[in-house]
Amino acid sequence: MVDFCPDDTPQLKAWRGEVRAFLEAELPGGMTFDYDYDEDEAGWDAYLAFWRKVGAKKWIGLTWPEEFGGLGRSAIERWILQEEFAEYAAPSHPIIGMAVAAGLLRHGTHAQRLRHLPGIASGAVQWGEGYSEPGSGSDLASLTTRAHLDGDHWVLNGQKTLGTAAHRAQWMSVLARTDPEAPGHSAISCFLVPLDAPGIQMLPLHNMADGQQNQTFFDNVRLPADSLLGDVNKAWNQIWFGLGGEALDPPGPSPDPYRYRIVRMLRKVMSYCRETRHRGRPLMEDPVVRLQLAELLEGVEAIRTQYYESYSNAVTGITVGPRPIALNLHQAYYKEFWPRFAQTCMEIVGPMAQIQGGRWACLNGELEHYFRGSVSNHAGGTSQLKRMVLATRGLGLPR
């Protein structure tokens, strides 16, 4: 039955109220979070402190079994929690850790789950990712970092790049080739690597949005046997494609604060247009600006309805429409829309949008920073890759 209303019971309404009360209490007023690319140390500390409060309520692992630090709550409760976090611009849950957790829940051993999930759930342990390599971006199947068994240990060698959050992390999820003979993605395994292990070196890479990504070098890093997540040689389907690659790259089945910035930014730009007068008239009454905003509104609303579609598909198990293409389609659309959105917002605000801070900056410089951040729309797989997957696996066109 068609329904777009997540909280249709008093219990769910109360739950929303509980989440909102927590956010009102715990989010420092006016503080904004720019997630992955924010290298402000004070910001990071506040971010961590907030997560740990969320973790203390067991809301990071809201839907996980209690033995792993969760509360065993329902998907719709998580949706509502995510909505509120998104609306409040709360720091996004530790994104890499959440992907690792998803992998652990599906493919981890009980011991692995017991070992790693509580740390993620409490906010105590941060995870970074080691997927991309200098020669291996969208085509992860071509990676060359390798691991071989030496007795009961895996020995890891290679280099990872563009590692989001790695310099903030204690652990890293690393994809490595475990059969030098097998081609492509058929011999890739996933390892859970403590970053204080001997043989690991990390160098910073600075990006256009003032953030740090990382190069990580592995030189004969010895890992105990239970560092392997899932089956050997099967990470491509089990971890990366089945979960990591998709779940890393929302919209998943619920809104997330990171992507939801697009909604909040549009609101901010609209407010700016209401408050700012050019030639004595609010920008909002300029017919051209109005139409530009309306086209952005359409795209942003389309993205919001795509969240509903993803959730409906995931939870009802029935695909809306004749083909199971929603997730890739949403990703392709979002990745293409995002930079266009940022560009149009800059055009609407005009030449002063380029000022980065201080009293002459528009929107406190947030839009300018957001624009630079939009250059990272490749993260989690380029739009070209999403289109290719949509065309071939989704619509059956030949590879």
């Binding site: 039955m1 777009f4 359409e298 389309a302 293409i325 289109r387 071939t392 030949p398």
Partner: protein, 387 residues
């Protein structure tokens, strides 16, 4: 149920029944033949739809209707879009009939609704004027009180099925000004003295007319709803129909997507299926994306209507998206098909030319975008909870 984007059982039944019905009774040859036929729509097809109750699908049972909900109707419209069924359902049932049901007196409802439902009467709206405006300011056709009559003077364009119609539901203006106040609806016999019809063909072979009103006397009893106060219901009815028009775009888009993906899989050039070329893959996925955006936005608007929520903003967004999709999907399909798609023998053009009509019907993209902004007021992006 909380979040669920799937039709319920009744809607699935309507969808499946309609798909089978149109596959059987309205294969693409029927669409082609209707383009050349003298009759404005295939009478047997219309009768078949009447037999299934679809001509009164949302009318109250007391007037021969099925009393179905808006989402039931919405399910039917996806199939009308898929099949390109050349019938006046949108005009006669979703617009004119619904206006009678919403605004009509007991007498008017009793006179027209059962006959529409039975397929025995055609009513069609006469809304647009040469300026091409969709808002209340587009209604300038003058209605002047003259004893027991109103005298109508002016021009309506793009009036579909006017020649077949038993009555036009004509929007007219009483008094001066250009706002919502003053907009009135009248049931006008297109054969009445002073009414003249001029056929104005469009590329979609729609039976469109210019209708010229010259001192047309309409009895006061043929006013539909409050004289001067018809706009709010007219507007809401048009916006609901715009959601149905969007559903047609979604349905037709599925066919265009299938047709184009099939062609891309099977057409070989440069030694391989053209669908292996990324340029072609982008075009095919463009269709899928436009169709998806429209489907989600239209379904949300339909749900808001169904559940009694405010819907004008969401309906406007849906139709804005549908208008773009109508153009973009068929454009992409032609890019993939190239020469063969340009030929009348190939079926793609049937979709393309109708999509062009639908693109501006009941609100073009610009109007709908402006409307969405206006309806959003100070809160154009409401919180999820209220969404």
């Amino acid at each position: 149920m909380s979040i669920d984007l799937n039709f319920n059982e009744q809607q699935q039944l309507i969808q499946n029944t309609a798909r089978e019905f149109f596959q059987k009774h309205c294969p693409i040859d029927v669409v082609r033949r209707a383009e050349k036929a003298d009759e404005e729509y295939p009478a047997d097809l219309w009768r078949g739809m009447a037999d299934l109750g679809w001509l009164g699908i949302t009318f109250p049972e007391a007037y021969g209707g099925l009393g179905c909900s808006f989402l039931d109707l919405y399910a039917l419209y996806g199939e009308l879009g898929r099949s390109l069924a050349p019938v006046p359902h949108l005009e006669c049932v979703a617009l004119a009939g619904t206006l009678v049901a919403e605004l009509g007196s007991e007498t008017q409802k009793a006179e027209w609704l059962p006959r529409i439902a039975a397929g025995e009467a055609i009513l069609t709206p006469a809304l647009m004027e040469p300026d091409g405006l969709y808002g209340p300011d587009g209604v300038t056709l003058s209605a002047r009180r003259d004893g027991d009559n109103f005298l109508l003077n002016g021009v309506k364009l793009l009036v579909a099925y006017a020649k077949s119609a038993d009555r036009l539901v004509c929007a007219a203006r009483i008094g001066t000004g250009d706002g919502a106040a003053g907009v009135s609806l009248f049931l006008v016999d297109p054969k009445a003295p002073g009414v003249s019809l001029e056929k104005t063909t469009n590329m979609a072979s729609a039976p469109l007319y210019a209708v010229i009103f010259k001192d047309v006397a309409v009895p006061t009893s043929d006013a539909l709803g409050e004289v001067g106060g018809a706009w709010p219901v007219l507007d809401a009815t048009v916006m609901k129909a715009a959601v149905l028009q969007s559903a047609m775009v979604v349905g037709a888009g599925e066919v265009v997507l299938d047709m184009t993906a099939d062609y891309a899989r099977t057409r070989v050039q440069f030694g391989q299926p053209i669908g292996r070329h990324q340029a072609v893959q982008y075009l095919v996925t463009d269709i899928a994306i436009e169709q998806n955006l429209t489907r989600n936005l239209a379904l949300r608007a339909a749900w808001r209507i169904e559940s009694g929520r405010s819907f004008l903003r969401e309906a406007a967004l849906a139709k804005a998206c549908a208008s773009k999709a109508a153009a973009a999907m068929t454009f992409a399909a032609h890019e993939v098909h190239a020469g063969i798609g340009f030929m009348l023998d190939y079926d793609l053009q049937l979709y393309t030319l109708r999509a062009k009509h639908w693109e501006s019907n009941l609100g073009d993209r610009r109007h709908c975008l402006e409307r969405a902004m206006a309806e959003g007021g100070d809160d154009p992006l409401p919180h999820f909870q209220h969404a």
